[in-house]
């Protein structure tokens, strides 16, 4: 229990978020949406981290989350840059239409 909040609620919602993230990553075709879904997955992790941290009474959880968020930001900038530079060639970011390299 964290205050009045059972840890399981936290974990369940985190799990739900993670699964949804995976689902998005697998089912969407726009590279951007896929990336968004991946962000959701990381947030799921964050939620679990904070929850555990609180449950264990250590701040490490929050520390890790802090790092994760920073990293997520960095990833976002790089990723979007990649999208942009790719878009210059292909005029699309629909991954179904991006298969120059295959087989």
């Amino acid at each position: 229990m964290i205050g009045g909040i059972p840890l399981n609620d936290v974990l369940l919602s985190s799990a739900a978020l993670f699964t949804i993230g995976v689902a998005g990553a697998l089912l969407r075709r726009s590279a951007i949406t896929i990336f968004l879904s991946i962000e959701v997955m990381m947030n799921a992790a964050n939620l679990a981290l904070v929850g555990y941290g609180a449950a264990l009474g250590t701040r490490e959880g929050q520390i890790v989350v802090f790092f994760v968020i920073a990293i997520a930001a960095a990833e976002a900038s790089v990723g979007l840059a990649i999208f942009v530079s790719l878009f210059r060639h292909t005029e699309t970011i629909d991954v179904n239409d991006i298969h120059l390299l295959k087989w």
Binding site: L11, I32, R59, I63, A73, A74
Partner: protein
Amino acid sequence: MAGFPIDRVVFDLAAAVAVLFAGVMVVHHHPVKSVLALVVGFFALAICYVMLWAPFIAAIQVIVYGGAILVLFLFVLMLLNVGSETRLAGSRRPVQAVLSGLALLLFAGLLLGLLRHGGAAVPAGNQGPAAAEIAPLARLLFSDYLLPFEALSVLLLAALVGAFVLARRESNP
């Protein structure tokens, strides 16, 4: 503390909202709308963090995620003005969709099964709301976590340069 478990209700509501909007993000065809849905989801998450005695995290969640990252997404979307996905995902290759669906169900099932063992190994610490203080967090960051913190700085620098290299217009110097 007996009585109405206000904390829990609030947390669950917020979590529900977060999950809901994450779902919306996934199913919505138009990327922009997806982003906006996600903004809401992240705000809800921020609330969860508050409820979990992590106001600082909540703050950067709002600022960095909601404020920076998603906005960046929006910019890019505008820049490339990508329209909504014409067809629903995978309708061209049903295999992908079907397999993903099955795998997801399995995964979710296993995850739920696992979380039965979710209880923390260590009994809950007694510091309680004290965890919410930010100063010790900062101290930790610069003492105990100095190494990863510095590494993070390199990482950000790399990301910066990288983004610059990639997004620069024409290649000849």
